[in-house]
Amino acid sequence: MSRQSRLIYSPEYTNYYFHDDHPFNQRRLLLTHDLLQAYQLLRDEDILTPRLATDEELELVHDPRYIQFVREQGETDEVLALAVGYGLGTEDVPCFRHMHEASSLIVGGTLQAVDAVMNGQAEHAFNPAGGLHHAFRGRASGFCIYNDCSVAIAYLRKHWNARVLYIDTDAHHGDGVQWAFYDDPNVLTVSLHETGKYLFPGTGNTTERGDGQGYGFSVNIPLDAYTEDDSFLEVYQKLIPKLVRGFQPDVILTQNGCDAHAYDPLTHLSCSMKVYQQIPRLAHEMAHTYCSGRWIAVGGGGYDIWRVVPRAWTLLWSEMSDQPLADDIEIPASWQEQWQPRSELILPSRLFDDPFPAIPRRAEITEKNRVTLERAILHAPIG
């Protein structure tokens, strides 16, 4: 059994905490960690403890004034006057004590994953706390304060001059990362998401293809609401190998938000756990075929923290660490016993979902997604 993977994990990740009623809750990482242990998929030597990102590292992407403000805001209980201008103190990104440190730990975790992979300590690494893809250079957005994905890509560019393929399968468009590298032909950003017609952030149209030298190096697949597994995977599996062959990346960074699931309260893509088995499987295969295995995965969205996130990211780690789980495997009783009393929702009894009721107009949605895919790759590097 290959043990070439690292999980970046610390219970301190839960310090990134807005308030009890906020949908973004890193408690999901505790549930995930415990489920991995219950399945006996984790050994002590698999785990790396995250470090804090330095200001210099954050400044690869973020405005120093913004970093300074986040630090100051985290030292007080009052919301400072300038907060709203920085996207903070809003309903989406409320302020909290020590927010700079909590956010820097998440970025540091992703950088640690990068270091482990690029220095050859491991082939793959997964930082489930990362994936905060909405944050901008000088502004918090969509639950995200610092953008660990963008910082990691800039760090890969700076220290290894690597060509980076970024694949974002969160149900929301990966806008922060896209705009950060919009004119860079060495970073190919790919986002599959629910169409922005209704959903936040509203961007991610097929026509957003990059700018200047980077034209063609942003690819967006806005999927229709109620896309479901088969159409989602058809598009993903057609798209990714073409882009990998055309772009020839040195390393793959995947953002593995799991909010496309039918149980997710914020989105409408209606996928099941099957996609969270298949998404990392293809990324893993591509990394071995084209990038000498170099694959870094981060978390992302996922707002059903009880029923979806622990299972989805367990599947990711199972794929990454070559420890496959059977399709009919049950959820360990010990995990259910531990967490059921704290959840208002009935926890699932199996790793995979029973089929959900079919959505009317499935054929039409499938067809529309195919057309979207064709449009999306018109000017992209494909091979």
Binding site: P23, T90, E91, D92, H134, S141, G142, F143, H172, D175, T195, G196, K197, Y198, L199, F200, P201, G202, T203, D224, A225, Y226, P265, L266, H268, I359, P360, R361, E364, I365, K368
Partner: protein
């Protein structure tokens, strides 16, 4: 919003003596389609890429006088009756002018001095900004009766939900006697807002009935 807020101020211009060949090059290099012609800083004419192309012979035949055409001055083909706008007019006035006259741009003139240009693309760009599409936001569409006070009632819900609105557009409704209010709101989690809207009896058009998947 006024024209002076969105007009282009870095202008590429030519004089009546500029040759057709030079004018073509100016348009190509600057990726523009309209060239105002100035004489002593006064606007005296306008040529578009179409006017210049009309002046050229067909690309399918070769003729000896091609070169002669490229060396002729633009004064021979420029429009001298130019429809212009004033910087203090509203952008919707510019849209009406461009639409009704079926033209592609308006030179913006203060007195007789050219101060800017506004084109179809600038208006489209403003439309994108007005709809708030360029800001991270969720889209909320509410169908209401076409009577006084509805917008205020709906807005009250946004206020109660403490959600910041980036843009509001009012459309005629699909049914007679209704209007569609389309808001772009700065939140990734509109659940509470949607709940409040439902609770107060408003009809919200969501992806279930607004998109393909109905």
């Amino acid at each position: 919003m006024r024209i002076e807020d969105i007009m282009r101020k870095n202008l590429v211009t030519a004089s009546p003596a500029t040759t057709i060949g030079e004018a073509l090059l100016l348009l190509r290099l600057n990726r523009i389609r309209h060239l105002p012609i100035l004489e002593n800083e006064q606007l005296v004419g306008l040529v578009s890429d179409r006017d210049l192309r009309d002046a050229l012979p067909s690309s399918l035949i070769t003729r000896d006088d091609d070169d002669a055409i490229l060396h002729k001055p633009v004064s021979e083909i420029m429009h001298t009756q130019v429809i212009t706008a004033h910087p203090l007019e509203f952008i919707e006035d510019a849209a009406v002018q461009i639409y009704e006259n079926k033209i592609g741009s308006l030179p913006v003139v203060e007195g007789t001095r050219l101060v800017g240009m506004i084109t179809e693309s600038d208006l489209f760009n403003s439309l994108i900004e007005l709809f708030g599409v360029n800001k991270p936001s969720s889209h909320i569409e509410v169908e209401v009766d076409d009577r006084a006070g509805m917008l205020a009632e709906v807005s009250q819900v946004f206020r109660d939900a403490k959600v910041n609105v980036c843009s509001v557009v009012v459309y005629p409704g699909k049914k007679i006697g209704t209007k569609s209010l389309v808001f772009r709101v700065q939140t990734m989690d509109p659940r509470n807002l949607l709940h409040l809207l439902h609770e107060r009896g408003f009809t919200v058009i969501g992806p279930t009935n607004g998109g393909v998947g109905s």
